[in-house]
């Protein structure tokens, strides 16, 4: 299986830890970059997720606040729910990932991921509470900053926007500090 190549004398790299169907991250980065060309040159709307997502959240508020309450909210009045390009892009992101996961036959139910269980054990409740709270914080932060990893991190950074580079660098600093705080556990097997 790991015979040296006749032509080059090199061994084919076989990584048992590399999950199936995964592409080189640089190639994926180039793909997203080229997709940005289309987003700017053709559609005139940078890639982004959270603007549509916050508009979608107004639907969840409907049962509690009523249609009038939602319409009167100054934020949702600015970005009301509608099936615009951003919302369809969001739907497409889900569908594209579904196509990818089915075609690579890597679909599997996941309740507690391995890095989490290594630190916090296999409790499903613990993981779900963290995911829910984390999701809430991330969305609040994204709206306050004006974008997320896509809208600021990629689309904004590639336009060399001051706001987006500030977002990108602050996000990485904050994430690294949080990760250190949450996942610090100095056991031998970690090293």
């Amino acid at each position: 299986m790991n015979e040296p190549n006749e032509m080059t004398g090199l061994r084919r790299e076989v990584d048992p830890l590399k999950p199936r169907g995964r592409w080189n991250p640089y190639v994926v980065g180039v793909g997203i970059g080229v997709l940005s060309w289309l987003a700017f040159g053709l559609v005139n709307q940078p890639l982004g997720i959270t603007t549509a997502l916050s508009a979608a959240s107004s639907v969840c508020a409907l049962p509690v606040m009523g249609a009038e309450g939602v319409a009167q909210n100054p934020y949702w009045a600015k970005t009301p729910f509608r099936w615009d390009g951003g919302m369809l892009f969001l739907v497409g992101t889900f569908l594209g990932s579904l196509v990818s996961v089915l075609s690579s036959r890597t679909f599997r139910w996941e309740l507690v991921p391995s890095t989490w269980s290594w630190r916090f054990g296999g409790s499903t409740w613990k993981r779900m509470v963290a995911a829910f709270v984390g999701g809430g914080i991330i969305m609040f932060g994204a709206r306050m900053a004006g974008g997320c990893t896509s809208g600021h991190g990629i689309s904004g950074s590639l336009q060399l926007a001051l706001s987006s580079w500030t977002f990108f660098l602050t996000l990485f600093g904050s994430g690294a500090l949080t990760a250190w705080f949450v996942f610090r556990k100095n056991t031998p097997e970690q090293r």
Binding site: G29, V34, W37, N44, P113, A131, A145, L162, T166, F168
Partner: protein, 190 residues
């Protein structure tokens, strides 16, 4: 400015473009909780590789489009206090959730049930922001309001200069990553 396709076509084109985006996120490995969290633990650099490459390739292409008059910029305003506070919260949330909004949506399709739970958390976060919008706008977004500034105008370094600097930084970072992380066994056993 005129774009080659109508607004209605562009709207429907968003679905296939979103699908390509979702497919790339999944194939790139960034729809995986462990990959995202381990980026922040400096044990897996997939996220940085994808993002920096996308910024460089996308940025140079969009610069050419813009210079030729075929694209417009969409700069988000630099309300610095809001951006810094928001990004800080975003980083905390991203480590707890293990995804960002886009990769979370992609992860839902892979069978990650905690991504689904976090998605509802995101919707609730969106509601919370809408409810506090007036206050945030008055007290946070009004502080250090610099407007839609770009780094070239701010520094005097032209666009291509910035991309050269970024490419150099990316080259060094990628070289260090590949040397340090990707071939630890090759070094020990030639």
């Amino acid at each position: 400015m005129d774009f080659p396709i109508s607004a209605e076509t562009a709207r429907w084109l968003a679905i296939p473009m979103g699908m390509v985006f979702g497919l790339l996120l999944h194939r790139g490995g960034v729809a995986d909780y462990n990959v995202i969290v381990n980026q922040f633990r400096f044990r897996d650099f997939t996220v940085l590789k994808v993002m920096l490459t996308a910024i460089l390739v996308g940025g140079v292409g969009v610069l050419i489009l813009k210079t030729g008059g075929h694209a417009e910029y969409h700069i988000k305003p630099a309300n610095m206090l809001g951006v810094v506070l928001g990004a800080t919260l975003f980083g905390i949330g991203m480590v707890l959730y293990g995804y960002c909004p886009g990769t979370g949506v992609a992860a839902m399709a892979t069978g990650s049930l905690h991504a689904v739970v976090g998605f509802f958390g995101m919707l609730l976060g969106g509601v919370a922001y809408a409810l506090s919008f007036t206050w945030v706008e008055a007290h946070i977004q009004s502080v250090a309001k610099l407007g839609k500034v770009r780094l070239p105008e701010l520094t005097g370094v032209p666009d291509w200069g910035w991309f050269l600097i970024l490419a150099a930084i990316a080259a060094v970072v990628f070289w260090l990553i590949e040397r340090r992380f990707e071939r630890p066994k090759a070094g020990s056993k030639p």
